[in-house]
């Protein structure tokens, strides 16, 4: 594998895997935020 291939592979590994983690982490935060903004309310009007 030449240098260019290595550079491509490592870029994909670092940016790709890092980007995947980052995107999913952001999604997790947004989902937590959604749960806080729209909490589940039971029949008696209490938040669970």
């Amino acid at each position: 594998m030449d240098n260019e291939q290595w550079a491509f592979g490592l870029t994909m590994m670092v940016v790709g895997m890092g980007g995947t983690f980052l995107t999913l982490w952001v999604l997790g935060l947004v989902m937590d935020l959604l749960k806080k903004i729209f909490p589940l309310v039971d029949k008696d009007g209490k938040q669970s």
Partner: protein, 382 residues
């Protein structure tokens, strides 16, 4: 008149003649088609896919049938929905309509397991490059590690159509083999004490509004971060939005039943149509199957190791086995985790936690593909 009869007779024997003179690869592929049909029908291995793929493979390897030539049945199906990526995307609408993301929404941090479960993709990419595959072919092969058939087909049909057949067959075969591939890795990487960790029951905390907004928010966030993958995420979330909004039940049901069934049939036949012997039987095919296996093993290794890390960080509150469900392959991987957990403690119910991780893996695999495509776009390679 005799001459006319002779030429007519030649038309009847040309196929057999071809088979005996230059049809060796076709004969092998007919045997492979028979194996695929046997696995699908008798062994129940992904029958919805393997039956049409096996039959399509048989059709295209009957000499001189011209089914994959311009205007032929299989070529028409291929042009209709594979070369333009329509079929995998329509299947994604159905998958989105089927999946309940409730378990994931109960604990959104489970999404990180879905990220860890994609590690095999990137490792396999390096392996494919080391073996001499060009960049776009390496990416298409690596995506087998997403353990997600439609995603693999979507990427391969765009960037390595010449490898579509082995990639899609490998992707679906390994997805079916998840219950065989994963357990030894799970056992090897965990201690008996870790395997019997019981996790706290999941409380219902997600409101209908959150479930309704989830697909819209996921589409917006992933679309902004990785726009090249928007067709994948957009279609899966469209299906899920139809499910959660509950006002288009007919469309939801059609997406997860009629449309998904018809598209699965066409998709399988068209993929089978790409398995013509002379094109399929190459050393690269074996290499792709080997790398696909490595990808799924490494996904599982990374998922379980991430589970062990989370187990340590939470003071033993998380059973590392659930990490194996981060590989997508929904819902099979979650069932594998539940079954493995119950081998060591019959009263240990990991299914809901594993289902959360598994739906996170479903999103994770699409995000990984989307990120890869966007990075490729950023690098000017596509």
């Amino acid at each position: 008149m005799l001459e006319s009869m002779q030429t007519g007779l030649y038309g009847l024997t040309a196929g057999v003649n071809y088979l005996f003179t230059q049809g060796g690869p076709n004969v092998i592929m007919l045997l492979i088609a028979a194996t695929l049909l046997y696995l699908g029908v008798k062994k129940g291995v992904e029958p919805l896919l393997l039956v049409p793929i096996g039959f399509g493979c048989m059709l295209v390897n009957i000499p001189l049938s011209d089914l994959m030539e311009s205007g032929g049945l299989l070529r028409t199906l291929y042009d209709m929905g594979i070369s333009n990526e329509l079929f995998p995307l329509l299947i994604f609408v159905g998958i989105g309509a089927m999946i309940d993301f409730g378990a994931l929404l109960e604990n959104p941090k489970m999404l990180l397991f879905g990220a860890a479960g994609q590690f095999g993709i990137f490792l396999t990419l390096l392996l494919a490059l080391a073996l001499g595959f060009p960049a776009l072919e390496a990416v298409s092969i690596a995506i087998i590690g997403a353990c997600d058939g439609p995603t693999a087909i979507y990427v391969a049909s765009q960037y390595a159509p010449q490898l579509l057949a082995p990639i899609s067959v490998a992707a679906y075969s390994y997805m079916a083999l998840v219950p065989i591939i994963q357990p030894p890795i799970m056992r090897a990487l965990t201690t008996p004490r870790e395997r019997i960790i019981r996790m706290a029951p999941i409380k219902k905390t997600v409101s209908p509004q959150t479930k309704l907004l989830f697909p819209i928010v996921v589409t917006l966030v992933t679309g902004l971060l990785a726009p090249k993958g928007l067709p994948l995420m957009g279609t899966i979330m469209l299906g899920n939005f139809m499910r959660e909004c509950a006002v288009v039940t007919r469309l939801q049901k059609a997406s997860e039943n009629e449309i998904a069934n018809i598209v699965t049939l066409f998709l399988g036949l068209a993929i089978g149509g790409t398995m013509e012997g002379h094109a399929f039987l190459k050393p690269t095919t074996l290499m792709i199957f080997g790398m696909g296996f490595v990808a799924i093993c490494m996904d599982t290794v990374a998922g379980v190791l991430f589970g062990k890390l989370v187990c340590k960080l939470t003071g033993g509150k998380v059973n590392p086995l659930i990490g194996a469900a981060g590989i997508s392959a929904f819902p099979m991987a979650a069932r594998v985790v539940q079954a493995q957990g119950q081998i060591y403690d019959k009263k240990n119910h990991l299914l809901m936690h594993a289902a959360g991780v598994n739906t996170g893996g479903q999103i994770g695999s699409v995000v990984a593909a989307a990120v890869m495509l966007s990075v490729l776009k950023g690098m000017g390679l596509i």
